[in-house]
Symmetry: C2
Subunit: 349 residues, 2 copies
DNA sequence: AGCGTGAGCGCAACCGATTGCGCTCGTCCC
DNA sequence: GGGACGAGCGCAATCGGTTGCGCTCACGCT
């Protein structure tokens, strides 16, 4: 792949490099005649300006970094991220900002900024620790363009994109209460993740508001397996809860699988409510709190692009809503065992 | 984010730019004393060499492009790609080659090569057309490093990574035949995609070898919906096949969903066999042809990295095998309707 | 003292594109 | 016919790092 340069074009046309450059950028101070010759030749030989040289003079890479949380396995196994990435990728393509993928847990992305390899960062939250967030804030405070999606934190220099979890969660609790539920179990993300603590708190307050008692509270690492294991524990301990509330659909799916393994079915044995409403939720009939995941991704990418272009931008607020499906119903099944109290209430630290 | 340059370091130390550069690269012709001073200062101010400038002199970007087939939706919705990406991303991280994501259906990747934005391309097959492949071959013939994964084509300048589909498919057909199946249906990917034609041909020859008659052959676009629709058609037409063979798990899942909708169950009504063995397959008990997807991704990335470093590399051959699970069994169910022949055999063009 | 030697560093060109400035024409006007 | 003017283009510096080459010393040797 012999790369053709501006100088090559200039040489074969017998003009200066600068003339070719100006002609290609449609500079009016170049005659239409030469511009035509230049354009034709450039097209003929398939000339494209060297990205590195361009980046050097323009002082911008024209690339944004996408920071994935945790391992690649964690991200790609979770359908929530799949939809999020879909939204992000589609906008990235339409605004012409290629995405550099940071599959690392290590702060590679910080180096990328310092190397000017990327102009900004789009960070996917939902498992960042306090320290990660502080690091990002430091970068943003230093003038870097950083957007954070799905991480409910105090407003700072970061562009934070979230949707309001409260309406959907409130609706879910209201519905459960109306259906006759009184005791529930909460299974949320890791206690060290701010996002998980926030969501957990929202579930708690909504439950309390609607008179649902949280018999037990479990935290997992947001994976399918964590949901499955939590369900096994609950089944094994004969918990009296008539509904299980989850921090995300992925864990809820794990729980449904555990129920299936045990020969039980939701909502007959227990109602199951997720959070996210990933596409598969509709397929398996999971009752869940709908979150416009794709929009979350597109809005985040658009916000970042706007910041890079120094354009102001008013984001449309995103909001959640409860979507009742098969896995939530009245707790009327006879297959439930009532407990005589004494269940341990594991509240997170 | 004030970027600190080599010149800045040189100025504060009172030495030449070149000295700083050499010191940082541990050039022996720089005294240990100055090297120490340089290193210390560089670390103190958090210096990182500008990626664009480096790329310009080194004549390589240190980045590889990842070309996703079709739309972002198509890719991220399919668990096969999730696992593939997982493998690719993990190796990319370990060999220090950032990934530039081409979410585009348009040949952006070609521009990236010409702009020297990437040093090589990793292309995910499984839905490329003839013309796409020819374009890639042209790029490779022009000296570009191009790897193609999951696309069984004739050997060329491309590094092609596939695993041998035949053993697993043969085992599947053998098992079905042993279980007493005689008539099957084949549902594979789009007829215009070489990979799909190849896989279809392998299924056909294996079926023939084991005395399985292919009553009907349907092509879909490899999506969940395509599988669901194919199943609906089959259910509606009361096809006599006792087993449905799929080109991938994703479509098989769609079919299982259609069966569920119809109040039917596999293998009671019909045996279902997929291809890929994505993680979810084990969960739902889908009988399928196992393909080491993650290894496919890691091997492809490693092969590309080796090519970029001009290192020879011998890939380990990857192979498939049949994994019987719940959805395949003997065709003994009474709920099946025998057909009186006359079913149309839709063979692809 | 004179010379050679080599360690240690600076000068400057280069990668490829962009851009301010100045040069060279042709044209028009008085 | 000579000067002013502007269209059209070239020169050269610049972005930040890399690298061949040459320069400047201190030192050791005869």
């Amino acid at each position: 792949m012999r790369k053709v340069t501006l100088q090559d074009l200039a040489d074969t046309l017998g003009v200066a490099r600068s003339t070719v450059s100006r002609a290609l950028r449609a500079d009016p101070q170049i005659s239409v005649a030469t511009r035509g010759r230049v354009d034709r030749l450039a097209r003929a030989v398939g000339y494209h300006p060297n990205a590195a040289a361009r980046a050097l003079t323009h002082r911008e890479a024209g690339v944004v970094g996408l920071v994935l949380p945790r391992s690649a396995h964690f991200v790609f196994a979770n359908p929530y991220f799949a939809e999020l990435l879909e939204g992000i990728a589609s906008v990235a393509e339409s605004v012409g900002l290629p995405i550099l993928l940071s599959a690392s847990t290590t702060p590679d992305y910080e180096r990328w900024l310092r190397e000017a390899r990327v102009d900004g960062l789009l960070t996917l939250g939902s498992s960042l620790g306090e320290s990660d967030i502080q690091r990002l804030e430091a970068l943003a405070a230093g003038g870097a363009a950083v957007a954070l999606v799905g991480e409910p934190i105090r407003p700072t220099d970061l562009r934070v994109l979230v949707c309001d979890e409260r309406p959907g969660i409130d609706q879910a609790c209201e519905r459960l209460a109306n259906d006759g539920h009184e005791c529930v179990t909460l299974v949320t993300g890791p206690a060290h993740a701010p996002y998980a603590r926030s969501r957990s708190a929202v579930w708690r307050s909504a439950a309390e508001r609607h008179g649902l008692q949280i018999l037990r509270s479990i935290t997992g690492d947001d994976t399918f397996d964590a949901g499955r294991d939590a369900a096994r524990v609950l089944l094994g301990s004969r918990c009296a809860a008539t509904a299980w509330l989850f921090g995300n659909d992925h864990m809820a799916f794990g729980a449904l699988h555990a129920l299936d393994e045990a020969g039980l079915r939701s909502p007959d044995h227990v109602s199951v409510v997720g959070f996210d409403d990933v596409m598969a939720a509709a397929l398996v009939g999971l009752s869940t709190v709908h979150q416009p995941i794709r929009e979350l991704g597109t809005e985040a990418m658009r916000a970042l692009a706007a910041e890079l272009r120094q354009q102001p931008r008013s984001g449309t607020p995103l909001v959640t809503r409860f979507v009742p499906r098969r896995t939530s119903a009245s707790p009327l099944s006879a297959s439930r065992h009532s407990s005589e109290g004494g269940h341990i209430d594991i509240s997170e630290p």
